[in-house]
């Protein structure tokens, strides 16, 4: 009887989450799966079309799918490792004992990642503005030559977005720092006594010890980067010359289909394709992670 009372109370207390879970998660997921098989503009009713949306996606009737996927994957491949490397390096430096003023540096590195993307997006749009932006004016001042058209050149525009993503490494750094502080001292000291040099200590003590944190940042970074949207959208708004080609990310493509062209069925199909791809990528990471992620049990 005691257990039953506990269960009842549990359900009563967590009911707000269960309602939210049904209304804003399971319900919408089922609905979007259904809509993916329909043609649906918001003023009408969904009409069942079978696999037509998915055929459109994979057979290239929807012209942007492969392109947006490619742009997004290249972005993920560049931005995620860059962010991880910079965040880990900064955390390692801030974790050194002989360094003073740690909290000041930590503040300076962390703050940019918290700023509203609407505001920082505008600042970056100006930094990279080819005519009167900061970067090209500095280039002109130093070299006397006209700087490149950062955002209208597809390749450069993508690199610019990677730079901006890397600028927000602060959150990852904070998580790395917490992980580094959890590395047991006795392990480090034992390695030191055994004559391990700095690289060996890093490679064979630090890395395995913080591998769950690296894994977490990798997975979260990847899931986040696959869904990159706001910066690219703001850039397109801010500057008509911004390369549409380079900034046409996957989620932007979904957004345009749903909210500009009123193709909700196709947009849901695209969203589910993204979801399944993220699921596969994450599972692959979990599978690969079993080999290198070291959990203290």
């Amino acid at each position: 009887m005691a257990l039953r009372r506990e269960t009842k109370l549990l359900l009563a207390f967590i009911s707000p989450w269960m309602i939210g879970f049904t209304m804003f998660l399971i319900g919408p997921m089922v609905a979007s799966l259904y809509l993916a098989f329909t043609r649906y503009s918001i003023q009408s009713y969904p009409r069942w079309v079978g696999l037509q949306n998915f055929r459109a996606v994979f057979l290239g009737w929807e012209p942007n799918f492969y392109h947006s996927l490619q742009v997004t994957l290249v972005y993920v491949i560049l931005a995620v490792p860059m962010g991880l490397i910079v965040a880990l390096s900064a955390a390692l430096l801030l974790n050194l004992q002989s360094i003073k003023g740690k909290s000041i540096f930590r503040t300076l590195f962390f703050l940019p990642s918290l700023l509203p993307v609407a505001a920082s997006g505008i600042v970056w749009a100006w930094v990279f503005n080819p005519k009167n932006g900061l970067l090209n004016r500095v280039i002109e001042l130093v070299s006397g030559q006209q700087g490149p058209e950062w955002l209208s050149n597809p390749r450069l525009a993508l690199y610019c977005l990677v730079v901006i993503a890397t600028w927000g490494f602060g959150g990852g750094m904070i998580i790395f720092l917490a992980g580094l502080q959890g590395v047991p001292r006795h392990l480090m000291e034992a390695a030191l006594i055994d004559g391990a040099n700095m690289w060996q200590r890093f490679r064979h003590v630090t890395i395995p010890q913080i591998s769950p944190v690296i894994f977490f940042n990798l997975i979260m970074g990847m899931i986040g980067a696959m869904q990159v949207f706001s910066v690219a959208y703001i850039f397109q708004q801010a500057d008509a010359s911004v390369s549409r080609e380079a900034t046409h990310f996957y989620v932007l493509n979904i957004f345009y289909h749903a909210f500009l062209y009123d193709r909700f069925g196709l947009a849901c199909a695209l969203a589910w394709v993204l979801f399944v791809m993220i699921l596969i990528l994450t599972s692959v990471q979990f599978w690969a992670g079993r080999k290198w992620v070291h959990y203290e049990s």
């Binding site: 998660l25 300076l108 940019p112 849901c268």
Partner: protein
């Protein structure tokens, strides 16, 4: 010893260099926001404005309905904080307090939903809110969901509640306190730091949110600051002679950044603890 000192100097050099890179965009934003437009386009570019043009700020804030956007943002922020604090506290207490097999299962389900990509649910949610509830072009879709316990905050509070001494809670229960009474009279007062962290994160999330307002708001009078600011890009700040009035754009951007910066300096510990905890569950 000498080599060691050299390496310490090198580390400082790297840290200072990185700080400069991180700060540069913010520094030039401040500097540009205080320049006259002639100086913004002046050759060669200057870092420190020749004349501090403070009037850029009132000018920027009157070229778009700043106060209205601020009011809209504050409505969303305050309802969201209220909703999040209420719902997440109750749910987290449930998860922390009533142990049974179902608890473990549901808690795991809740955690795993945090990894779901938002775009899958956002389209049907949009249809539900706009077509079936008629909430298009209102602020409701932005804050109503916060009354249904966001997993991240529930997780954060559950972890905190589990550290509270059970003796104290049991004593209150023996004295005839109901579960809600224990939660309200004992758990909540003891959990102020954790609740503050949740409030700070909710504020930041809603203040910075861009996609939500972009989807749901159409009438410029209803915009939040984040959305209003980018709208301002395409219209307000344009000078016939020079082109984009970047000084005004930067002033407006800074004003939108400012509350986050101020909050960050007051509640830095909350930010760091919240972020750390997300990583530690991994």
């Amino acid at each position: 010893m000498k080599a060691r000192r050299k390496s310490v100097i090198l580390v400082y050099a790297v840290l200072i260099g990185l700080s400069a890179v991180m700060l540069l965009p913010v520094a030039v934003t401040v500097s540009t926001s205080l320049k006259e437009l002639t100086e913004v386009y002046h050759e060669p570019p200057t870092l420190i404005p020749q004349k501090l043009c403070w009037s850029n700020y009132p000018a920027a804030l009157t070229t778009f309905p700043f106060l209205r956007y601020l009011a809209n943002t504050m409505i969303v922020v305050s309802f969201s904080i209220t909703g999040t604090l209420f719902s997440c506290t109750v749910v987290a207490y449930g998860f922390a307090r009533f142990r049974c097999r179902l608890n473990k299962v549901l808690f795991t389900v809740m955690l795993s939903t945090m990894m779901l990509p938002g775009i899958v649910t956002s389209i049907p949610t949009f249809i539900m809110f706009t077509r079936y509830l008629g909430w298009y072009d209102t602020l409701y879709p932005l804050w109503v969901p916060s009354f249904f316990a966001a997993p991240f905050f529930v997780f954060l509070l559950t972890q905190f509640f589990r550290t509270l001494p059970t003796d104290l809670l049991d004593a209150a229960r023996i004295d005839g306190c109901t579960e809600l009474g224990v939660l309200w009279r004992i758990v909540v007062p003891l959990s102020k730091p954790a609740l503050l962290t949740v409030a700070v994160f909710t504020f930041m999330g809603q203040w910075n949110d861009y996609l939500g307002p972009l989807l749901y708001l159409q009438d410029p009078d209803k915009f939040t600051l984040a959305l209003g600011l980018t709208h301002f890009l395409s219209g307000g700040a344009y000078n016939e002679v020079y082109g984009t009035a970047w000084n005004l754009m930067m002033a407006a951007s800074l004003v939108v950044m400012l509350p986050i910066i101020v909050l960050f300096f007051f509640a830095q510990r909350s930010f760091i603890e919240g972020i750390t905890l997300t990583g530690m569950k991994g």
